[in-house]
């Protein structure tokens, strides 16, 4: 009878936000999560990063403000020596067949998203000072 029917507990989301604002890697809380939780956490942090981006940059915000720090799919595959087709890595195809590798990639992405949130916050703080 929960108000939150997703696979991801609210306590994990709260810990993720705490990590972001406390300037710690979000990936550190992901080690004990199950695959569905990892996927949901990635989506939650992405949505949060977009929300921060829009609030701070308004119409100037683009996805690239968040993704520019992430290694490209090609770069990641090369770094781990993966020979699978690129779309396997882009989507969540690999998450069930190669959970460790897919999780590692998602961890990197989540930490990059967290970094972008912190950059948006710094930007907002300087706007506050200038205002």
């Amino acid at each position: 009878m929960s108000g939150n029917e997703s696979a991801l507990k609210s306590s994990i989301k709260l810990r993720a936000i705490y990590s972001i604002l406390d300037e710690k890697p979000v990936s550190e809380i992901m080690d004990h999560l199950k695959i569905p939780e990892i996927i949901e956490l990635q989506k939650f942090i992405w949505d949060l990063a977009v929300e921060f981006g829009i609030k701070v940059r308004g119409k100037k915000f683009t996805r690239k403000d968040i993704t520019r720090k992430m290694p490209s799919t090609t770069e990641y595959q090369r770094s781990v020596g993966c020979g699978e087709k690129i779309y396997y890595c882009k989507s969540t195809h690999c998450i069930n067949s190669n959970p460790e590798c897919a999780t590692q990639k998602i961890k990197q992405q989540v930490d990059c998203m967290a970094d972008s949130i912190r950059e948006f916050m710094k930007s907002a703080k300087s706007n506050e000072i200038l205002a």
């Binding site: 929960s2 108000g3 939150n4 609210s10 306590s11 936000i17 921060f52 609030k55 701070v56 506050e128």
Partner: protein, 159 residues
């Protein structure tokens, strides 16, 4: 007159009482683990705020008495004391399994700076349609009332 009940959970009695007093002006009754105050909205509606100190296991709380009528919960914790957050997490997972009532996480920054700039997320960060995180200063009427208003907003949005 209609009555609405809100439960304020926290790990520190002092923090809970400061929070409730900031909203209701004074605590009407208290013992070592529970305090109570009310807030008259108008001649038709009054809110009862119950402050409960959480220290043990969630199973020790009388949920059958609390959860049937409660409008929602406010979990107050000290942002700068990680142990305070960890204790609240245990309770949160338990509450999520037992009840569908909305929850506001009121992160008390006391006299320290808020980690969020004042011009961002004034109304809180949504965890889902039913739960939000807000920063407040226990004892500061404006920020504590904002937490209560955020709870009421979730309830109204669900109607």
């Amino acid at each position: 007159m209609r009555i609405g009940e809100v439960v304020v959970f926290g790990t520190s009695n002092i923090e809970i009482e400061q929070f409730i007093e900031a909203i209701c002006q004074f605590i009407q009754q208290k013992d070592n683990k529970i305090c109570y105050a009310n807030l008259e909205i108008n001649d038709q509606l009054i809110l009862y705020l119950y402050g409960i100190q959480y220290q043990d296991q969630p199973e020790t709380i009388a949920w059958d008495m609390l959860s049937n009528k409660v409008l929602g919960y406010i979990f107050i914790f000290n942002w700068y004391q990680p142990e305070s957050l960890n204790q609240i997490m245990d309770l949160l997972d338990y509450v999520n399994e037992k009840c569908a009532a909305p929850i506001i996480f009121a992160a008390n920054v006391a006299n320290q700076p808020s980690p969020l700039p004042d011009n961002l997320f004034q109304d809180g960060i949504s965890l889902n349609f039913n739960e939000k995180l807000l920063f407040c200063r226990a004892g500061d009427s404006a920020t504590c009332k904002k937490a209560l208003v955020a709870l009421l907003d979730i309830i109204i949005d669900k109607l």
